[in-house]
């Protein structure tokens, strides 16, 4: 099969069958690309995920674009991107049409009234999980709390918070290195 067509098919499948957001896509991409086709080695894949996590934007989009690029250049990146995005584009447009029609129905409104507090719980659990896995250094605690307070109570724009925390991290690491004399 043509490599471009193959990329499209793989990422379309990834885009269409992973429910629950971008993070759910990563193991599927790994299975499709590393295990089934061996287009990329396990180690390369792990490095690639780290880099994609450090780039802005949706993780699944970064990952599939990067894999497409590595396998077949800029065109490959483009095709992998289209493959990943197309299913959710179509699906969400259908839902949006549907949502407008059914949002007047009383049961549907009550359904969403029940779902909204559950979303809060889902996010809360993720925060707890992430917090548990993070080292409790003073720096981490201060930055995490500062970001939280800046957005929740001071209404500071999230972009400002992100830029500030990134800069703070850079300065912190640099000073610590100077202090311990490591380069």
């Amino acid at each position: 099969m043509n490599i471009y067509l193959k990329l499209f098919v793989i990422f379309f499948r990834v885009g269409a069958f992973t429910f629950g957001g971008g993070y759910a896509m990563i193991p599927i991409i790994q299975k499709e690309i590393v295990e089934n086709t061996e287009l990329i080695s396990e180690k390369e894949f792990l490095d690639l995920i780290v880099v994609c996590q450090s780039l802005p934007g949706a993780l699944a989009v970064n990952t599939s674009t990067f894999i497409g690029y590595k396998i077949a250049g800029v065109l490959g990146a483009f095709i992998a991107l289209i493959g990943t995005v197309l299913p959710s584009l179509v699906f969400i447009i259908l839902i949006a049409i549907f949502y407008n029609r059914i949002s007047d129905i009383k049961e549907i409104q009550l359904f969403f009234k029940g779902v909204r507090p559950a979303i809060v719980s889902l996010i809360f659990i993720s925060v707890l999980k992430l917090g548990k896995n993070m080292r409790r250094s003073n720096f981490n605690i201060i930055i995490g709390l500062a970001a939280f307070f800046a957005i929740t109570f001071l209404n500071i724009h999230p972009i400002v918070v992100v830029v500030f925390c990134g800069t703070a991290g850079y300065i912190y690491v640099k000073r610590r290195q100077k202090h311990y004399g490591v380069r």
Partner: protein, 174 residues
């Protein structure tokens, strides 16, 4: 022009959200609920719920939904291009270099700061959504019940959503 505005808002979201997933929520919320009033706070929570039950990353889903709601299919496409454009450009231009240098002190330093910030961002999203979603005693009960269920049983999020929706119908009709 409306298309340009839509495009730029989602370009910003794509360019400045780190950590993916829930960590992107405060920025998306800021841009589409508070700055541009494209969605109500309720619709925003519903979009997160819909994203949990449908394929694709939440940023893409939000872009498509908002774009379609205001400017039809072309709007959906424009917003989606906006949200992925920076990713595409960065990956195709910078990624190879980053693959070599991601262990460099500069990149490492910036991420030492961003990693804990991501938790703060998610916590902020949680509080903001709590203010929107938990407005009476019944919704508080659902919120706590779901917390207990997730903690005890590790039920899949899609099931959680269906379950909580049914709880909503039951609790608010009796």
């Amino acid at each position: 022009m409306v298309y340009v505005k839509l495009f730029l808002a989602f370009l910003k979201i794509g360019a400045f959200s780190f950590g993916g997933g829930y960590a992107m929520l405060p920025l998306i919320e800021q841009e589409i609920v508070y700055i541009n009033n494209w969605l109500s706070a309720y619709e925003f929570v519903d979009i997160i719920a819909i994203s949990q039950m449908s394929p694709g990353p939440i940023a893409i889903n939000a872009a498509t939904f908002v774009g379609f709601k205001h400017l039809d299919v072309l709007g959906a496409v424009v917003a989606t291009i906006g949200v992925v454009l920076v990713s595409f450009l960065l990956v195709t231009s910078l990624a190879q270099i980053l693959l070599k240098y991601y262990k460099s002190p500069v990149v490492n330093g910036v991420f030492t700061g961003l990693r804990p910030a991501v938790i703060g961002l998610m916590a902020a999203a949680c509080v903001s959504l709590f203010r929107t979603s938990v407005e009476d005693f019944k919704s508080l009960i659902i919120c706590i019940a779901v917390l207990v269920i997730i903690h005890k049983t590790r039920t899949h999020p899609i099931l959680i959503i269906l379950l909580s929706g049914i709880m909503g119908i039951v609790v608010y009709t009796i």
